[in-house]
Symmetry: D2
Subunit: 450 residues, 4 copies
């Protein structure tokens, strides 16, 4: 398939998620309820803990997302809006400097109050106010800007849904009791491939070739997108090949056994320095017990399943693996061009697995087909997170949403097993620092044609 | 009064708290219940937070004190004792290296599990086992060593009762919502002297003189004492004078207003370095709002009451204040010699004020009388915490209780408003690092005779 | 001018600095002597100091560049080569992990020995051996690989010539005595514009437009280039405009006076965090004394000359300035496309000014012309330092030269007043972390066409 | 010998080193010349390096001691005294806060200027001025305060003589070339006992008993003493025993081989924490090479000599060793009471060995005799460095000399192989933090009578 064909597909396939959808109230409440649903089995104590600076307590996520609605929607659109509590503006602003002073990020775990019950009351208060506000103009006819902000607020809430899961995973992982977030469901994808038959072959990696040339990158159409996906613009790509599936635990284990964590020549200089100072010898959440590998999951400790996609890699590890394997990480424009050729489907949060799953055996077919492009794990790319040509930050406080982070981070693509289906798309750009590993992050190989 | 007379009084006044007391079971259960009583108004979330490394979560205190009984009593005296949970030994050992690996102190706030309810169940399990064990030998006749350990366990528990209060105070203080631990009681000592009439004169400081000479220092008699109070031994004291009351907030405010926090010549070199790097400009928990001084208490924020004893001082601050005031801190042997001349009574935890109180006006009388020697605030001394001549650590793991901390810390005397009455005595040696301020710590002046 | 025209010029203008130049010995010795010439007025004590981790002592630079010849040339090409000293391989390896253990970078200032005289003897030893080796095959006919390595060694040496100057500037700057490296020459460019007439107008900034389109980026031809300039490849550029001159001190001062260092919305999030933690309020080496601005130079403290290019900016500051000014930093491909339209000339190290100079008044002419593209200050670009498509690291130890740093840094272009003329070219990619300011680093604005 | 006898001896034995000695000029110049003599074989580069925060460059010591004379003598006693250089007051003030702003201690190694030659010129300038000043009143008749300050200045200079040696030892030790400060002299005490015969028996440790009782501690008489040795006062000592010699390398090696560095129960809690974080496994300057122990000395690397006193111990190590050996460190009053029974003689700096020496075999004699009390190594005591009863700091800036360090440090007694003979006495109190090891610090055991 040529990239020109791929680009042509874009306009057909992206669903029209227009901001003037008639059931905006319903969609709003659905998103809010989805957040709460993720926390329903927790104990009050579980909502409080911040196990490292990057992690926020579940309680904080519940409150911060509510603050977002108060600060950017309710306070702007409702005359004399009365905030739920005068101090919450200070407590639950994350990083919006222009919105005023805020509580120190590293101290979110020091707050025993407000209690979980109080935060839930806060959420209901905000839900009512927003729903009522939207209902006044259900078709976004009077004020498209409001409808756009509601879309942004829902997407923001979905980002925190994913963070609730990854942060809880970290909180539980540092507890020697190793609590379980959700029991593994009988019959889900991984079950059939658990330790017992984990050595069953998974499909051999095959390469999908692209001709490159002049392509369009970035979001088009009228659906919601974050500012960092714009503007759509042209790029010239050299020909490239990309793997038809994700790298697996088994493959990553070969890298380890071949001395991957001991060979400096495979690593970026800063990655090697961190590896040495932090003592990395295997991926985050892996543990060696009596000669066998285990990994911590949201369903507790499990023997490592070799066929599952490798997960919780830093960019440094993904990059070193790719070099070892004779390939490289894809650039984000290559990934996007490739992703536009396949449907947006996969092991996303709705599957309620909360863990990447082993690829089923190859269906019969003539040539290689891109699989696992969406869901399972975010795929590290080799692209530093930078503004697109012509990018400009939105006016006002909301301009701090994405633009000010375009430095020192790398782009990830494709969503994970913790990402909502309505949240992901080919043009979506996630970004983390190269030493971050607590997200569901893995990799897919790319290479230059031989 | 001569010191010889003072020493003579010792043997009359120290109550005989023998270890073979018939109601040991009752006393044991009382101590345990007192711990729980301190936590009864808390929310589950309040039990989880560790707001700095020195602070432990309330939940941890509840569990650690139970572990102490398991590790030092139940596991030793009950054949085939079955611990409540296999991992708790690892989670709730504080610092006993010889007892095996333990959870990192700085990460006690990362544990959402066990839940509060589970920890309370753990306490009941331990209570039953210990009570049953004691009941087998209620008079300590068969095994004095057991009775001694039970006494140690109760005193250990009392130490953690005080820490529960000081740690919760810190947890609440860093929360911008400034929660209240316990509403201030109507009619308690401080109420009558609250902000409104806080300028009412408090008694002028007067000096009580002691002749010095050869005195006995350290615990005597058969009552319980910690190892660090032994052995009783002789010291030669030069003549000294000691203030009849504690230094007040009002007096400390004069120090501040006279530039006390800006004049390096008043400070120890290390204290000054810390003052500069930490930006100390007033005592811990003091806050300046719109030109007025407030302080955080277990009953929330209150206007500073000038007549109350100054509290939450570091040793560095107490030492600098004393130098500024033309005096010095008492040495611990001077303090002890003086304290043995007065009864052990004062504003202790049983008063349920959880805060130092203003001194009532001087009763009519001929000469100055030592007051506030016990309760209100721990009094910093100028004495580094060192072993007494002839001191030796107990055999075994319990030997780590006190001895290994005899380096880099200073001795405090007299107990505070968070100390149980049965826990304090003239020979009691508390100790903290010179930069610690989260305890109820203040000072009393001493000086050489003019 | 269209970019097609620009690309066409490339092949005309790049001098053919072939590796088989007949006078390679002479060029080698010239480069080596140039290094020594930079240090001839120093005291022995000046060679020893490392004033921060990024800085190396002059003595170390002299020795390390000699080690480079030993490790990569002499040891490889001379059978039984006897190194000058057995420990120098350990002491003077900079970062080549595959070359074996090496001395800790942060401790280069802890070495009083070898003395300066011993290091100079080391240099002579190496000079003789390399010159003799080259002389055996002066035209590179027998072994082109040797000639290529000699070119690399000379370019490496030139990089350290620049570092000797920037590092000494830092060493002298932290000394309250503020020593002078070299007295300012009478009659050099800056003298005529010193403080007295520093307010004389400099040419108004004008924009030079480029049409963009498909261009070639990267080094072509047979001259020396670093691996990171390869391979030459195509890129699609949107139309852009680029300023005809550098940003000046006077313009940067307006940014400061407009609150540029107090307005978070102008900064990248990480830049703002560093600004706050480090207390940045003006560029590195600027000082405010009695209401006037001064800056430290290699000729000592001087009143700030408003018309000179602003220098010693971090990337964060350059980026914030550009945002404030309504523009942006150029991308590196834009800069390169523009630079290929002008000759490689400017205020480089041969001018011996060791400081950027004020632009002369605009010569009469019809339209704007790009000036100051080479020399004066390295120009920060908005491009993260990444490998070009098709880039691969060289085989062996020398592969660590550039590739392992392609993460977390930004590209600078154009050379500075400390760069040798034969070292710079339009395709040259320098790179530093975004918080580095001790290099001669400034900026030129770019923008999207209006 | 009873302590009463010992105390009686004090007044006979302390030489009368009155401040009004007629040859004060000569003594002053001698002290100054001794400082320079220690540096005469160094290269200029050796004077510059600061290899850790605690270490100062030799050049700094030479300049700081000169500043001391300028700041405390010349500026006070000479009207219109013109300092040598206006900036030196800022550069070379060590820690006298009241004397004004000063250069950061940790950055003393960042100063390449003034050069060594300039500093030596500074010294001569100060020498002349002080000598001339003293000569005006050679007998201290007109102004005893001046003569007292000159004595203080000479003692201060002597302290820095010792530091020049210990600091250079550290500077050389971190250099992989391991330079030699001074070749080992043929025929000095250690030579006869070098590696070859290092296993020859040294005298078995014997205990010297003291009855204790009421003793006088602190300096008496009219000779010079530091303020921290005053006032002389009474103490009551329990009976004690003290070893007749220092602990040796061989004995310390037994401690290591018995797991001394792996057994937490032998250590203070803070010492153990440091041991773990710093990875201590043997004394500072010891190194294990191919199964044999070596140590770094001012004469370079040498095989460990088992019979030599163990040296460069931290207090934590000395304390742990003593506990392992079944003894304890002496208290400083015990040490002083014992030291007053023996003459002040030993391996001091005048012997020019710069290293502790092996004890000669026991001379025939009836009972044990205290040996090695002075010189060889400073002896750690168990006493925290605190003010004596009645201590008061001198008025003015000079009051910062000692008093402000009386917190967090431990007392050492007896001088070392780097201490001048006229500088040491039984009452002399040296003090360092418990983790300091770069001084010549060892230990002598004490114990309670059995």
């Amino acid at each position: 398939m040529t990239l020109t064909e791929q680009n042509a597909r874009t306009h057909r396939d992206v669903p029209s998620r227009g901001v003037d959808h008639p059931d905006l109230v319903r969609r709003f409440l659905d998103v809010r309820e989805s957040t709460d649903a993720l926390t329903q089995n927790l104990e009050p104590e579980d909502f409080v803990v911040q196990s490292m600076d990057d992690v926020s307590p579940t309680k904080w996520h519940l409150a911060h997302t509510s603050w977002f609605w108060e600060a950017f929607v309710l306070s702007e659109w409702i005359r004399d809006y009365k905030p739920f509590h005068p101090t919450y503006h200070y407590l639950f602003n994350s990083y919006y400097v222009q919105a005023g002073e805020r509580h120190c990020r590293a101290q979110r775990g020091y707050l025993s109050r407000p209690t979980v019950a109080e935060v839930q009351e806060y959420r209901r208060y905000v839900d009512s106010a927003v729903a009522e506000l939207i209902a006044r103009d259900p078709h976004g006819e009077r004020d498209p800007a409001l409808a756009q902000l509601v879309e942004l607020g829902m997407n923001h809430e979905q980002q925190h849904q994913e963070l609730i899961l990854t942060d809880l995973k970290h909180v539980f992982s540092v507890n020697p009791l190793r609590p379980t977030y959700r029991e593994r469901r009988a019959g889900n994808g991984s079950d059939a491939t658990s330790a017992g038959n984990s050595t069953a072959a998974i499909p051999e990696l095959r390469w999908v070739g692209f001709e490159g040339g002049l392509v369009h990158i970035g979001a088009a159409g009228s659906g919601f997108r974050f500012d960092n996906e714009s503007p759509r613009h042209r790029r010239f790509l050299e020909p490239f090949e990309i793997a038809d599936r994700l790298v697996t635990n088994g493959e990553f284990l070969e890298f380890i056994e071949d001395g991957g964590f001991r060979r400096a020549e495979l690593w970026m200089s800063e990655g090697w320095a961190q590896r040495e100072s932090q003592g990395w010898t295997e991926p985050f959440y892996w543990e060696r017990r009596d000669g066998a590998w285990w990994s911590f999951t949201l369903s507790g400790m499990r023997p490592l399943v070799l066929g599952e996609p490798v997960c919780h890699l830093t960019w440094f590890e993904a990059d070193a693996y790719a070099r070892w394997a004779g390939g490289r990480l894809p650039r984000e424009d290559e990934w996007e061009a490739a992703a536009e050729t396949v449907p947006v489907e996969g092991n996303l949060v709705e599957a309620a697995r909360f863990h990447p799953v082993r690829l089923a055996s190859t269906e019969g077919g003539s040539g290689p087909v891109l699989r696992q492009m969406f869901g399972d794990v975010w795929e590290w790319t080799s692209s530093a997170y930078s503004p697109y040509p012509g990018y400009s930050t939105p006016e006002g406080v909301i301009g701090e949403y994405n633009g000010k982070f375009m430095c020192g981070q790398f782009v990830l693509r494709g969503g994970s097993c913790a990402t909502p289906r309505t949240h992901i798309r080919p043009t979506y750009r996630n970004f983390f620092h190269p030493d971050a590993a607590w997200q569901f992050s893995g990799l897919r190989l790319a290479r230059d044609p031989r």
